[in-house]
């Protein structure tokens, strides 16, 4: 069988070119993981510099300016260039294997998603040579991040690189959803998905909803900094609080984006090494959805000291406390899975257990922060630093390390050395707790975070020194892991297909898997296909017998990949526009008495005429689609040309409107009306333009094909384009009725 497979294998490019040109999900997954490891080294060195500076009071190892840059870079790097890419990389490597697919749904989009990551990372670090790295914190609070207070280009690089990484993350999430929905092996229902894949799926939806909020924040900030807009500058009528609302409405879901994949890893590792199926599969899966949904409604707990009203305090405190419930359910599920199992304490399992403990500690201090008075006392102190490092290092990173030990044999074919693994584990756990547990006390006795040094107050020096010693142990632990990886790759023990006797599909193929993943996907009758395969006399489904058979409703109509992808893209874009519209409404009240505003500057009638053009173009596009489905190429081409002409007419109308406004000195830097109006309608105009480019390209290709008498294009491309175009129209209806009809009265 294998010989036959090697025969048909196409010539694969070798060396560097192979990696650069690859569209294979496994190679791209490895690229993600290696990139994340590289930036982990960068972020780790930055962390060590911070700890050296803070080792003793009144230290002058780093200047205040350098310290600000380094703690900003540390946070940004660890979140956007380490934790997220590492989890996305694992998802991209593993999810197609877990669901028995050959590759991702859109392999080339997959490559694009990855290559945006190093581009963003390089852009971020290039700022060091261009006036200095960003220094306003990973959250870039306005107005500190605004031009008058932050003159160098650091924050510009920060915003541009995060936009770049964010777009890559969004396309990766979209790709993952389409993959899981359309490419599952026969028999693998949604309710039978391995939990790692399920959490990857839920996480991808979370990304689609949350990252547009980041993108809106970043483009508004860039408009402020580069074009003189007024979004977040209080002295220009803007609102620094709006930045916090925008940023944290991304930033809090982001916390769960960094934790849900960790939950997924734990849900795979614990059952395998306890030799028991997961306890309460449905509870674990459903509570993930609860966490994802609730995570959108808790962001204001980052803002308890910004002067929110009493009612807002009550409500956001309640929601933040509530989110502990589904998380707690999961913890109990994992403990119950271990209960009574025959536990094998491999390094992966040790990290999973450590995760349970450290993450629970981080969760408990999180519940404390949800309580407003405690938050008032401890916010902006080292207590916060301790809290989120317990969540992100003791939580996310420990799970990730567990995942590395668990899946390294599958990815490389070699087992990691377990003895070195234990050394690494002990150093990491001891170092981590030493570094961060004392920071709880530092915070409680009042040491503020983000300061480059501190005076020799009682307790400060010794606790900080302990923390620094812990950091060195942690770093030593990481070096041991690096050594373990190098030595195991060189002369590690061969892993075989299934070294852990695990039950999910990725272990059914060779280690590392062949380019096509599976010679043959095993039959799937339940949640543990390999268990059923090995224990034919005692499969899972026999244990669940006892009820009469029942008709199962269909799992939903099959949907084409381009259409589903476009629906997801459009859904994500609608969040983007929604937030820009909310920004307009946020300032509308204040602008009503201070012209220029919508009433003085906008002409509903003239724009209404051009609006009709845009709406008509949706109709003509529908007619083009109908012609395409009747295989009438001439009709389709004609209606497409009409559509393009109508879209172009709308754009001309917008240009005329802009020219008139500029003539009357209404520009993006006039006031918050100008800022919000031009950003919103400008981005909509860009979307129309992009739609025109895509329709023209499609039209051109069709004409070319007609000349060559080739077969007509599949109508799915056109229907995917049509979804986009109708979406752009629908957004305009909302914009027109809000800005031109409602706001002008």
């Amino acid at each position: 069988m294998t010989e036959k497979m090697t025969d048909v294998k196409p010539a694969v490019p070798r060396g560097l070119y192979r990696w650069v040109s690859s569209v294979d999900h496994k190679e791209i997954g490895i690229l993600y993981l290696v990139t994340a490891a590289f930036f982990f080294l960068c972020g780790g060195i930055e962390a060590m510099l911070i700890r050296i500076q803070l080792a003793s009071p009144d230290n002058t190892f780093l200047s205040p300016a350098a310290y600000n840059q380094i703690f900003t870079m540390h946070g940004t790097t660890m979140i956007f260039l380490v934790v997220m890419p590492a989890f996305i990389g694992l998802n991209i490597y593993l999810v197609p294997l877990l669901i028995g697919a050959k590759d991702m749904a859109f392999p080339r989009l997959n490559a694009l998603s990855f290559w945006l990551l190093p581009l963003g990372g390089l852009m971020l670090h290039f700022s060091f040579w261009h006036g200095g790295a960003p220094d306003a914190g990973w959250f870039s609070y306005a107005p500190l991040s605004e031009k008058p207070y932050n003159f160098y280009q650091g924050v510009d690089y920060w915003a541009l690189s995060l936009l770049c990484i964010g777009i890559g993350t969004l396309s990766g999430a979209l790709n993952l959803i389409v993959t899981v929905v359309t490419l599952r092996a026969p028999g693998l229902r949604i309710t039978r998905l391995p939990l790692f894949a399920w959490m990857g799926l839920v996480n991808s939806f979370l990304i689609l909803g949350a990252f547009p909020a980041l993108n809106v924040s970043l483009v508004s900030l860039l408009c402020d900094r580069l074009l003189g807009a007024r979004f977040f500058q209080p002295d220009g009528g803007g609102s620094a609080i709006l930045w916090q609302h925008f940023f944290w409405s991304f930033g809090h879901p982001e916390v769960y984006i960094m934790v849900l994949p960790a939950f997924g890893i734990i849900s795979e590792v614990i059952p395998v090494f306890s030799r028991k199926p997961i306890y309460g599969y449905g509870m674990v899966a459903a509570s993930t959805v609860a966490i994802a949904l609730l995570s959108y409604g808790v962001w204001a707990h980052h803002m308890f000291v910004t002067g929110l009203s009493r009612v807002e305090h009550y409500i956001f405190s309640a929601t933040s406390l509530l989110i502990a419930v589904p998380t707690g359910i999961k913890i109990f599920n994992w403990i119950a899975t271990m209960w009574g199992g025959s536990i094998r304490f491999t390094t992966a399992m040790l990290f999973a257990i450590a995760f349970l403990i450290e993450f629970t500690i981080g969760g408990l201090s999180g519940v404390m922060f949800a309580t407003v008075p405690i938050d008032w006392q401890t916010t902006d102190t080292y207590f916060v630093v301790a809290h989120f490092h317990y969540v992100l290092l003791g939580g996310s990173l420990f799970a990730l390390l567990g995942g590395v030990f668990y899946w390294f044999p599958k990815i490389t074919g070699k087992l990691l050395d377990e003895r070195l693994g234990r050394v690494h584990f002990v150093l990491t756990v001891v170092g981590f707790n030493l570094t961060f547990f004392v920071q709880h006390f530092l915070g409680l006795i009042g040491m503020p975070r983000r300061v480059y040094t501190y005076p020799a107050l009682p307790g400060y020096s010794s606790l900080n020194l302990i923390s620094t010693i812990g950091a060195f142990l942690l770093a030593a632990g990481m070096l041991v892991l690096l050594y373990d990886i190098v030595i195991s790759l060189r002369r590690g023990q061969d892993a075989g297909d299934n070294p852990w006797q695990a039950w999910t599909l990725e272990w059914a193929t060779t280690s590392p898997p062949p380019p096509h993943n599976f010679a043959q996907v095993p039959p799937i009758h339940g949640r543990r296909p390999l268990w059923d395969l090995d224990h034919q006399e005692d499969p899972d489904w026999k244990a669940e017998e006892g009820r009469p058979p029942r008709e199962m409703p269909l799992q939903g109509r099959a949907i084409s990949k381009p259409k589903l992808g476009m629906f997801l893209f459009v859904g994500s874009e609608s969040v983007f526009f929604l937030m820009l519209i909310l920004a307009f409404l946020y300032f509308h009240g204040a602008n009503a008495t201070h012209p220029p505003n919508a009433r003085t500057s906008l002409d509903p009638l003239r724009t209404g005429i051009f609006t009709i053009c845009l709406l008509a173009s949706s109709g003509t596009l529908w007619l083009a689609e109908r012609s395409a489905s009747r295989a009438s190429r001439a009709g389709m081409g004609l209606w497409l040309l009409f559509t393009i002409a109508l879209g172009a007419a709308f754009l001309i109308g917008q240009v005329l409107e802009y020219a008139g406004l500029f003539y009357h000195r209404v520009t993006i830097d006039t006031n918050t009306f100008g800022s919000t109006f031009f950003t919103l309608t400008g981005f909509h105009g860009c979307h129309v333009l992009l739609g025109l480019v895509m329709l023209s390209a499609f039209c051109g290709i069709e004409l070319f094909r007609a000349a060559g008498r080739k077969r007509p294009a599949s109508s799915t491309t056109l229907s995917a384009l049509a979804i986009y175009w109708h979406f752009v129209d629908a957004v305009w209806i909302v914009i027109y009725s809000t800005l031109y009809l409602w706001a002008t009265t």
Binding site: R189, I190, T191, R192, Y281, G282, A285, A286, S287, V289, A290, L293, L294, Y296, G297, S309, R310, V311, E312, I315, F316, A318, T319, L322, H525, G526, P539, W541, K542, E544, E545, G546, R547, P548, P549, R550, M552, P553, L554, Q555, G556, L578, L582, L585, Y586, G589
Partner: protein
């Protein structure tokens, strides 16, 4: 203008009760008659739903909602739409639903309203329509419109929850669709909640213009701490957050059903495959 009331006087005020009692009693009687006065678990759930309607429309909440507080209006609205309507569905047995569906005119209208797309549009649409500040202010001073508003909330609530909670399984939407259905409603309500919470103070200013017939305005503002601005924010936040808890809870319910189905059918499905 009445004399000043204390909190306990206000909570015990029953002046709104008589008007609400009759329709509630009629509803309960019709239900009992249709079920031939048999009494089981579902009857109690249905009765609880009716009791909640009575509480929303016949208690001090109605007085406050009618004349004083946006937040009380919102609480009333959420009780009707999000709690009473689901309870009515859970309290109705499948045969009764099917019997109503077979009725000549009412059945056809009901089937149309319970189509998932119509039901969703109706639920979300009513929510947005009645909180358009101008219409809301109009309904405040106008008893007829005010009652129509309540009826709309209750009926659109019943329509909205049909595809999720109906005891007749053929009416239900698929679990995955149901998750998006509920999440979509959650997003729509969140958006409206955000708009109300962050709207300029005085957007729902109508309450301040109404006469203080019960003499409780001072009590509400100084003792309950509900100034017009706070009241508006509380109204928006009620629409935004507790609302979504109900939807998230319903999503959990749907998923629980979904996973239970998997556990009962996978054995049957594998067994039949083995036989073949």
């Amino acid at each position: 203008v009445g004399n000043d009331m204390s909190t306990s006087d206000l909570l015990a005020n029953t002046s709104a009760l008589p008007a609400a009692l009759l329709p509630c009693a009629l509803l309960l009687f019709a239900y009992a008659a249709a079920r031939r006065f048999c009494c089981d678990r579902r009857t109690w759930i249905f009765a609880a739903g009716v009791l909640l309607i009575l509480m929303a429309l016949g208690s001090f909440l109605e007085l406050l909602a009618d004349h004083y507080l946006l937040s009380a209006h919102m609480a009333q609205h959420l009780l009707l739409f999000l709690i009473a309507a689901p309870l009515l569905w859970m309290g109705t047995p499948a045969e009764l639903v099917r019997r109503i569906q077979r009725l000549p005119v009412i059945g056809a209208i009901g089937n149309f309203l319970l189509h998932p797309i119509v039901a969703f549009a109706l639920g979300v649409g009513m929510m947005w329509l009645w909180h358009w500040p101008r219409l809301h202010t109009l309904a405040m001073g106008h008893p007829g419109l005010h009652h129509l508003q309540h009826l709309c909330f209750l009926l659109s609530g019943i329509a909205f929850w049909g595809p999720i909670l109906s005891p007749a399984e053929e009416m239900l939407v698929q679990p995955v669709v149901a998750v998006f259905y509920l999440f979509g409603a959650c997003v729509a309500d969140t958006l409206l909640g955000i708009l109300i919470t962050f709207a300029a103070p005085g957007t729902f200013s109508g309450y301040a213009l109404l006469p203080d017939t019960l003499g409780v305005r001072d009590l509400l503002q100084s003792h309950w701490g509900l100034s017009p601005e706070t009241d508006q924010q509380a109204g928006g936040l009620l629409m935004w957050v507790p609302c979504c808890f109900v939807y998230v809870g319903a999503v959990m319910g749907v998923l629980a059903r979904f996973y239970r189905e998997e556990e009962t059918t996978s054995s049957a499905d594998a067994a039949s495959m083995n036989e073949a």
